[in-house]
Structure formats: structure tokens, C-alpha cells
């Protein structure tokens, strides 16, 4: 049995995230940065966040399939699409956006991939929801909310329009 309950108001979370990004970038003295989303939820979110920030320029799209560390266990993701970064990453400040932060492995893969495009000046991580269960020492710089899930629960971002964060229950893990 699967239920889908809207958990949070994504729109208001985006507003608060945008504020946090702006103040963080000011604090870090970063004038210009580019936004990169991790496919697919991270890309939707990156675009929405970019709009909220009044960011000019296209959002980068990262497909981390070739960088996942579980290839030797589960093989290749069946529907790989090309990553698309419409800007140079070399010496660039990047805002990396994803929907849900869990083990941290996705972020590690994404950072590895970003470095293959060129050495960035900095990477700032923004995620909508942190559900804990970390396996790597990776923490978000900007966070929308923290969720505590019961065993067997998963969260998923539905989108791109409207964006909705839902809990899936009873789904076999």
C-alpha cells in the first residue's frame, strides 16, 4: 500500500533557502556563481531556486550515472542523459542543488563529476530536505528542512510543476 502525503510547502521553503543562499554568498564574499542541479529532482529545484534568486543564465544539469559508486552492485542506470553545463566550471563558484540528502553518496559523485569539467573555485551545497542516514561526511550549506522518517518510508520530489515533496510508505527498500 502506497500513500502520498504532501509534507511541506515547497514554495515557502524555496523562499527561505533563497534568503539563506544570498546571505551565505555575501558572507563568503562570492559575487558571481553558477547553479547546477542534480537530475532529476535537483534540476527542477535548481531552476525554481534560480528564479527565486533572480539568477540570470541557464542552470547546469548533472547526470551522475557514470559516477555512481554502486555500479559494481546494481549496474548502469538505464536512462542516462548527457550532463549539460552551459558554462565553464574552471575557477567558478558553484551552487550545487539537490532535492533530498541522505547517504551523501550522490553529492560525492556529483562533486567528482564537476571536477572533471574543470576545477571549481568553490562548491556550495543546497538541499531541500535532509533525511539523515548519512554514510559520508557531507553536510548541506543551505537546508530547506529536516525530516525524520519512519522505517520503510521514503521521500520523493514530484515535479517539475508544481513541486511537491511526498512521503512514500510501505515501499520495499
Amino acid at each position: 500500500m502506497m500513500t502520498e502525503d504532501p509534507l511541506v510547502d515547497v514554495g515557502s521553503l524555496l523562499q527561505s533557502m533563497a534568503q539563506k543562499v544570498t546571505s551565505l554568498m555575501q558572507a563568503r564574499n562570492i559575487g558571481h556563481y553558477e547553479i547546477v542541479g542534480i537530475r532529476s529532482g535537483g534540476v527542477w529545484l535548481a531552476k525554481a531556486l534560480g528564479a527565486e534568486l533572480g539568477h540570470r543564465g541557464a542552470v547546469g544539469e548533472l547526470d551522475i550515472s557514470f559516477y555512481r559508486d554502486d555500479f559494481t552492485r546494481i549496474g548502469l542506470h538505464p536512462r542516462v542523459r548527457p550532463s549539460a553545463l552551459p558554462f565553464a566550471t574552471e575557477d567558478q563558484n558553484l551552487l550545487l542543488v539537490d532535492d533530498v540528502l541522505m547517504s551523501g553518496r550522490t553529492i560525492r559523485a556529483a562533486m567528482n563529476e564537476l571536477f572533471d569539467f574543470g576545477r571549481p573555485a568553490s562548491i556550495t551545497l543546497a538541499v531541500l530536505a535532509d533525511i539523515g542516514q548519512r554514510e559520508l561526511p557531507i553536510q548541506p550549506d543551505v537546508l530547506g528542512c529536516t525530516l525524520h522518517l519512519k522505517p520503510g518510508q521514503r521521500v520523493k520530489l514530484l515535479g517539475p510543476e508544481p513541486l511537491n515533496l511526498v512521503v512514500k510508505q510501505g515501499v520495499p527498500t
Binding site: 557514470f66 559516477y67 555500479f71 552492485r73 549496474g75 536512462r79 542516462v80 548527457p82 572533471d116
Partner: protein, 335 residues
């Protein structure tokens, strides 16, 4: 007949229990969806090729052995580069065919290489069906990629050609594709015909004299033309094949000169095809025999793009086959 062969899927050995690629032996037997998946995955690898570091960690720790029983610098190099861009370790083994005349030594060689923990064999062999044979002989989990077997198939070449066609024409449904030259000895032609059929090309033509056509080639779903002008009429894609010099000695053709006169692709002849038709050649070219320099280097030629696409297609096929083996092993509980 007494033996049950009806409805047996062809080359089923190359797919795992979920229908994913685990070897890549032939285009025949592969469905449209899988071919599209190969093309899509290859597109992602083309993007990788444009980065400052053209390498992904997918096959880190895996070992790929290039087993070439037939000399080929070009194909071997692109396979080698593809494997290296997937972060695999690569072992190049060029075998003088005369040194392994008996199957026994081929099997023994495979055992030896497996003992060195090779995860994938890329095989080119003068005998049709060799990769099939090797796929039946390797231990489970080891992948076999056909880099050209005799006159049978050259599936990665066909897929890179399909990728090139898709990049230029957007799709396959309304296309007329003409394949010109030595169809009889061409593994490229056979693979392309299977691929174009599966991808739904409107019309596939072969253009050659009867001496260079396989018997009953029509049964593969192609239209046969014996003159170039007729065969090229309104074609969207023209594929010329390499004519091996030794064909002259086998009494298959009177002379290079007459072959060129009848089947050599010149700028003038290309006027029969559609104005936006593209010209492809699997290489290496015999300029002035099957193709004129003016065409090979002309605006309609996409021959160099084929080479670039070759690396991406081979990366796609290698990673998909390795992935299929991983899933097959996991299903057997062998992980």
C-alpha cells in the same frame, strides 16, 4: 524437421534474464528499444568527450582484453580509448591467426586470460561466429564484445553509423538508406541492415553486382539494385563499403577500373541522391576505387564524425554489457 528451432530468439545468449545486454555479439536479435538505449547512452558519452577530463570512473578496477585475431589499428584504437575513458585497465593482444589454427588453443588462451581476471573480451576474428563461440566458453560474468567477425557482423560499427544518421536526420522512420559495394564480404553491411530494420528505416537498398551479393540477400529485407544511379535515387543516406583489393583475384570483379566506373561514388553520381543526403564509409577508404576524394572530403561526408561517434558508442556498449553481467550475476546470487 525433427529438431525444434521454431521461435527460438536469435543470439539470445547476448541478453541477460531481464533482457539487458550482457554480451554484444550481433545486432540481429536486439529490439528497437535496446538499440535506442545504446544510442542515448552513447550521446551521454559524447558529452563526456567534450569535458576537460574525458574520463568517467564507471569501469574502474575492471580489465578489458582486446583480442584481435585480425589486424585493425583503427577499431582496436577506438576500443582501447573507449575502455580507458571508462577507467578500465586495457590489455591489447594481437594474435597472428596462423599461430592459433586449432580451437583448442583459442579455448586455452581464453582460460589463461580469465586466470588474469579479465572482465571483458573485445574480439575481432576472421571467422564468422567466433564471438558467439567465445561467449559460450567464458565463465559467467565475463562479457564479450564483437569487434567484427568474418563476414557476419560488426555491431559497434553499425551503431556508430546509426548514431551518425540520427544526429543528421533526427530519426529513421522516413529514411531511404543505400549501401554500396562489396556486400558479400561485409560484416558492416549485415549489421547495418539489421539495425536499420529494427529502427524502422523506410527502405534499405543494396547496390552491387551479383558476385558481391550474398545469396538470397533479399530475405534480409533489402531491395537489390545493380546500378548506382537507380539505387541512389532520392536516398537520404549513402554508405559505401571498402573494396578489398584481393577481390580482384577471386574472379569476383573484372577490374578496379570497371568497378569504379559502375559503383564508385563520385560527386556527379551523388546528384541522384537527395540534396541533403549524407555519405558514410566505415573506413579505411580506397579513394578512387569505391569513393572519390571529392565526395569523401565533401560537404555531405560525415566520415570523420563516424570516428568520433565510434568511441562514444563503444563506451556505451561496454558499460551496458558490463552492467548486464553485474545484474545477471546478482540474480544468480553470485555477487
Amino acid at each position: 524437421m525433427i529438431w525444434p528451432t521454431e521461435n527460438k530468439p536469435r543470439a539470445a545468449i547476448q541478453l541477460n534474464h531481464e533482457g539487458q545486454l550482457r554480451h554484444f555479439l550481433s545486432i540481429e536479435g536486439l529490439k528497437r528499444e535496446l538499440l535506442i538505449e545504446i544510442l542515448d547512452t552513447a550521446e551521454s558519452f559524447i558529452e563526456v568527450g567534450s569535458r576537460s577530463i574525458r574520463k568517467v570512473p564507471l569501469l574502474r578496477g575492471k580489465t578489458v582484453a582486446n583480442l584481435f585475431f585480425e589486424a585493425s589499428t583503427r577499431t582496436r584504437s577506438t576500443f582501447e580509448l573507449a575502455a580507458k575513458r571508462l577507467s578500465a585497465d586495457v590489455l591489447n593482444i594481437n594474435i597472428n591467426t596462423s599461430a592459433t589454427t586449432k580451437g583448442e588453443s583459442l579455448s586455452d588462451m581464453l582460460r589463461n586470460l580469465e586466470a588474469m581476471a579479465v572482465d571483458m573480451f573485445v574480439v575481432r576474428h576472421v571467422q564468422s561466429g567466433s564471438p558467439h563461440f567465445i561467449a559460450t566458453a567464458v565463465t559467467p560474468g565475463v562479457s564479450v564484445i564483437n569487434a567484427g567477425d568474418g563476414r557476419h557482423e560488426h555491431p559497434t560499427q553499425a551503431m556508430l553509423d546509426m548514431l551518425t544518421i540520427r544526429q543528421h536526420k533526427g530519426g529513421f522512420e522516413n529514411l531511404t538508406v543505400a549501401i554500396v559495394g562489396d556486400i558479400l564480404h561485409s560484416r558492416v553491411a549485415r549489421s547495418e541492415i539489421h539495425a536499420l530494420k529494427a529502427l524502422g528505416a523506410a527502405e534499405i537498398r543494396v547496390i552491387a553486382p551479383d558476385t558481391l551479393l550474398p545469396v538470397d540477400v533479399e530475405s534480409m529485407g533489402v531491395k537489390v539494385f545493380s546500378t548506382l544511379d537507380e539505387g541512389l535515387r532520392d536516398a537520404d543516406v549513402v554508405v559505401t563499403l571498402r573494396l578489398q583489393k584481393e577481390r580482384m583475384e577471386g574472379a569476383l570483379l573484372p577490374s578496379e577500373h570497371e568497378f569504379y566506373r559502375l559503383y564508385g561514388l563520385s560527386a556527379e553520381r551523388m546528384r541522384s541522391a537527395k540534396p541533403d543526403a549524407i555519405v558514410m564509409h566505415p573506413g579505411p577508404m580506397n579513394r578512387g576505387v569505391e569513393i572519390d576524394s571529392a565526395v569523401a572530403d565533401g560537404a555531405q561526408s560525415v566520415i570523420l564524425q563516424q570516428v568520433t561517434n565510434g568511441i562514444a558508442v563503444r563506451m556505451a556498449v561496454m558499460s551496458m554489457a558490463m552492467s548486464g553481467q553485474i545484474n545477471a550475476l546478482a540474480a544468480r546470487g553470485g555477487q
